[in-house]
């Protein structure tokens, strides 16, 4: 599949007018400090400055235009906070997501081990057909001998979950586009995925702080319980 990023002037004009072949929604998850925000900053804002790195609180949102073939897509990307306590919010940002990008730090074994939980979350919170992409970040640090997770291990884990796999560096820019481009390409190439997600209603169990779906049965059962024991 041919792919370019707004190089062609004519295409650029189309992109600016805002006629999209579709909107793709991606969610980026992974433990705190692995480099999610740095990667997104580079990809969406063409910026790399470690002195400007700040922690993400809750959810951040960025948007990017991307061509797949000659079709312009709008890519909405959610950057999430790595700290465990913010996972309460997960349900709300997975709603309608087509792809999940899971990031770990190749110089931090713990962030790799944490992936089990992240894969679990990605699978329970999103639609069955969602496209997964595993990213090993901070590839530049491998040259200083800081690597704690081998490429093979990363690839094997990705394969076992049916995910695409890349190792990237936000510092050198190596491979930084590939995870996004690869994921969107696969989403667009999966027949029906873009439409299916839009139609699929949010499972009740994922709704947050909303309504009392279960109170009626509870009242009934406790009433019965009272009657029987009383």
């Amino acid at each position: 599949m041919y792919l370019a990023e707004g190089r062609d002037k004519r295409v650029k004009a189309i992109l600016e007018v805002g006629e999209w072949a579709g909107t793709v929604k991606l969610v980026v998850i992974g433990s705190s400090g692995v480099g999610k925000t740095a990667l997104l900053r580079l990809y969406c804002d063409h910026e790399w400055d470690p002195r400007l790195a700040t922690s993400t609180i809750g959810i951040d949102f960025k948007t990017k235009r991307l061509l797949v073939g000659d079709q312009p897509y709008k890519v909405n990307i959610f950057d999430t906070a790595g700290q465990e306590r913010f996972r309460t919010l997960s349900a709300s940002y997975y709603r309608g997501a087509h792809g999940v990008i899971l990031v770990y730090d190749i110089t931090n074994r713990k962030s790799f081990l944490d992936l089990e939980g992240w894969f679990q979350e990605a699978k329970t919170c999103s639609t069955e057909v969602v496209v997964l992409c595993l990213v090993g970040a901070k590839l530049d640090k491998a040259a200083q001998g800081e690597r704690q997770v081998s490429t093979e291990e990363g690839r094997a884990l990705a394969e076992s979950h049916g995910a695409i796999f890349y190792e990237v560096s936000a510092k050198t820019g190596e491979n930084f586009r590939e995870p996004f481009v690869g994921t969107v390409q696969r989403i667009v190439g999966t027949p029906g995925l873009l439409e299916a997600v839009r139609r699929k209603p949010v499972p009740d169990a994922l709704r947050l702080n909303r309504g009392d779906y279960y109170t009626k049965p509870i009242i009934l059962v406790s009433l019965l319980h009272c009657c029987l024991s009383g």
Partner: protein, 402 residues
Amino acid sequence: MEPSLDRNTANHSNATSTADKKKEAVLEACRRRDLSALRALAESPGGFLTDSIRQQAWPILLGLPPSDIKPEADSLSSWEFLPRHKDEDQVQLDVNRAFIYYPDNQTDSQLAHQKSLLSQLILSVLRQHPYLCYFQGYHDIAQVLLLVLPSSVQLPAVTHLSLFHIRDFMLPSLSPAIAQLRLIPDILRLSDPPLWRHLSHTEPFFALSGTLTMYAHDITSLGEIARLFDVLLAREPVFTVYLFAAIVRSRREELFDTPPDEPEMLHSILSKLPVPLELEGLIAEAVRLQREVPPEKLPAWKGISRWSVLKTSNGRGGEENEGARSVEQGRMYFERQVEELRWEKKKARARKWVWKHRGPARMVAVAVLVGVLAVWLRKGPLPGPLVSGLGYLSGLLARWWR
């Protein structure tokens, strides 16, 4: 040329004299520990004006007992010998990414020194109060106090702030923080229905980093965040929420330009503060909003725990110990809230269980009902009206069930 110059200097001296007067008023209010006077001064344009006045006023607003405000109080001693706190790794990750926007022009070694002070400050609070949970963004708040207050009061100041302003955010779960966010749509619904309708598909999570960090994560100038802290510390904690509602309202036009069915775009607009930030106008508007639609009028207020900072911060005015608050009391509230959360969790689990087994549960319920009826009927003939009444009731029950 000349007259205008004259006017300028006159203006200038006027301004300095009002500033001097205000300064005097703040210091006088501090001497009397007069919280309501401080509050009025904090709300007026410019707040407490300078950091040296803030150093007098903030400790009083935070409810530090006078003994903690003495310059010789040894604050950071001995934290190193206390057991590690479970969140220390996260603290490190965040402190590494602190001091982004201010102070200016620091050398690398100055920056490293600041970071180590910040880390010590946060770790000493956490180690002395191991029950508190650290959250990403707490470091942004601590950073402001570190830069404004003298080192002797930093530790008690951050401790009191943790227990009486942001305690809800330091609980084991994020849900009390989310319960606070739910007040924002309610404020909008009562004060600006068209805007509320426009945002009705957007979750209020855009306000998370603003409210969680008292705007310290989002405001990029030390002067502005210090001025804002004047009023946030002087007023009840719920004011942060009203301030966010005021910010949302100040962006009406921009929001109406974005279709309501694009919650992502609306979220993205609202999650960044407007530039430039008209702080004084927003503060005044938030004060007005809180008067117009007080918290008790908001339906989501019922969803706030009675042990929340939002509901336990009143009535601390001057009476006992000149407005000082004890750490023990904060801890007691905290533990009540933890208890409550545990109970909520159990209830949620029970709900889930019942829901999962709703098929069998329904059958069991019907079987039990029939059994009870049968036993009852065997005890002797029931009067006709009772039987038909029971029939009617079970009919109702069946309809309600569906």
